[in-house]
Amino acid sequence: MISKMSLICLLSFSSLSFASDITVKMTLSPAGSFEAKTTKVHGDVIKSGEKYTAESLWVKVDDLKTGIDLRDEHFHKHFNSEKNPKITLNNVVATAGKGSGTLTVNNVSNKVDFTYKVISDKKLEALLKVKPSAFKLPEVKYLEIGVDDEVEIVTVVDVK
């Protein structure tokens, strides 16, 4: 009986991720977290030898969903999506597990570094951490709960 329960628990005790192409992970203050996800990542990553490049990868801010409609509204408004509807990563160059590019959010561009790992011949998973304040995004506070000024972005992209 106990072993059955343990087995069920162990089966559930893993972080299960799904086919989301980009996930923006945010930490709440004082506690908690949420994610904004979309499967609509535009642009191509091209492999040439051991080098990966992309001219431009982008998502629409309004395509990012957090699981709560009201939070989506706040999220999109916070990114000023009516005026700046896209988040883009341009001039991407990556090799040996590390890469860089120019990230544009809220019409502010900054060079960013990221790490990546090869999932398969056709897929890469990249991880980058950014500070929203570096993109002139205001501090977030809703009913006294805030969002930390460090955001993790995980993206799985197809390779051509």
């Binding site: 106990i2 559930s12 299960l16 699981g67 939070r71 006294e144």
Partner: protein, 388 residues
């Protein structure tokens, strides 16, 4: 989530599990700590403005709203009696729980009851430049537990009393210290006060104690330490003194593992409890909780000590906004006679709109003993929970 796992959690687990429902499940919505939505860092009691908004716009459904009703308006309506957060410093709260209970389904001794379980009024006052000071007081109707009726302990209890009042200071968002009457931090604080994890550990609906609580909440670590001297409103011989501690660590992003210890003593009994637990988000809105514990109880009068073991597995499956399957499976073993119990059964939890929770559970309980056989017991519980 892949299809196999989805089927597993949607169909297979409900077949094997029983009761559940509880707010620790909201790790499934990304809320791994109670303090995001509750004033008390370990949950229970009134929810804060953010918790009210989440309850209305993420937890509760919108089946009864016009499809064009803005979410912002729904969020505003979650405030006390529809008032749009009228005061920054004073936060009133009223909560009610009532239960329709039909025991021993299909048996001659079947009984039907309606129990008013709770009617509380609460006021939270926050002050300081960063709201670092908090006072919370709850007072209301709390029925005498059935097990204590017509006993000296039950006769000494009042039906109108406070189950929680405290003063809290949070010098930083991470640290807080609280003084007053509070629940003891231990294990997973599930809502069901009849679960073995709460009965065996003596942490049910009337087991709060006066004391001091230290709380830490970091990015991935949360802990609480509590020293207590018993509920000073109760008779001195049943005032339970001791300490409790619990911690949780986030692992693999959406899972938390934890361990707890509790040592307490009154005039009649000394007990020590240890537990480990996990809480995991499976998909958004869906979670699984697991707790395994052992309680050693030593009567002060010198009679035979006993060891109790329990296990609790609960899941919370979001089917759509506002509607959840709730299931749990419980195990309890008593070393005195080596008897053990298994309880399971599916439940349904529905939040049709903000401030209302409806829940129905069917519990199957089996008692296993070397000395006697007993038939399966089936009970039906239907609960109404409203708050303002």
């Amino acid at each position: 989530m892949n299809k196999t796992l989805y089927i597993y959690f949607l169909i297979i687990i409900p077949l094997f599990s029983g009761k559940a429902y509880a707010y620790p499940h909201f790790i499934g919505h990304g809320y791994n700590s109670c303090i995001t939505c509750h004033y008390n860092p370990f949950g229970n009691g009134p929810i804060n403005d953010y918790g009210r908004s989440v309850s209305g716009t993420a937890i509760a459904g919108r089946d009864f709203y016009d499809e064009n009703k803005p979410e912002e308006l729904i969020a505003n309506e979650t405030a006390f009696f529809l008032k749009d957060y009228i005061s920054k410093s004073l936060k009133p709260f009223i909560g009610y729980r009532g239960m329709f209970y039909k025991s021993n389904l299909g048996q001659d001794g079947s009984k039907v009851e309606f129990i008013n379980m709770q009617l509380d009024g609460n006021l939270v006052a926050k002050f300081g430049s960063k709201d670092q000071y908090i006072m919370s007081g709850t007072f209301g109707y709390a029925p005498i537990p059935r097990s204590l009726k017509n006993t000296p302990a039950g006769d000494a209890m009042k039906e109108y009393r406070s189950r929680e009042h405290y003063l809290g200071i949070r010098p930083s968002p991470n640290w807080g210290v609280y003084f007053g009457l509070m629940d003891k931090p231990f294990g997973i604080r599930v809502a069901e006060h009849t679960s073995y994890s709460r009965i065996s550990t003596q942490l049910t609906m009337d087991d709060q104690a006066h004391g001091a609580l230290l709380h830490y909440s970091g990015t991935s670590l949360e802990l609480g330490l509590n020293a207590f001297i018993g509920n000073l409103a109760s008779k001195s011989d049943v005032q339970t003194k001791g300490f409790a501690g619990t911690f949780e660590q986030t692992v693999f992003e959406k899972n938390r593992i934890g361990a707890s210890i509790l040592s307490q003593k009154n005039t009649y009994l000394k007990s020590t409890a240890l537990a480990i637990h996990t809480r995991s988000q499976i998909t958004y809105g869906t979670s699984v909780l697991f707790e395994l514990g052992q309680v050693n109880k030593t009567p002060v009068n010198g009679t035979t000590p006993r060891k109790e073991n329990y296990a609790l597995l609960q899941n919370h499956i979001k089917t759509k906004r506002g509607l959840y399957f709730l299931n749990s499976m419980e195990y309890f073993k008593n070393s005195l006679d080596n008897s053990y119990k298994v309880r399971f059964g599916p439940g349904l939890q529905y939040y049709p709109f903000s401030k209302l929770e409806l829940r129905a559970d069917v519990y199957n309980t089996r008692n296993f003993s070397r000395d006697s056989n007993s038939a399966d017991r089936w009970d039906l519980l239907m609960q109404l929970h409203a708050w303002f």
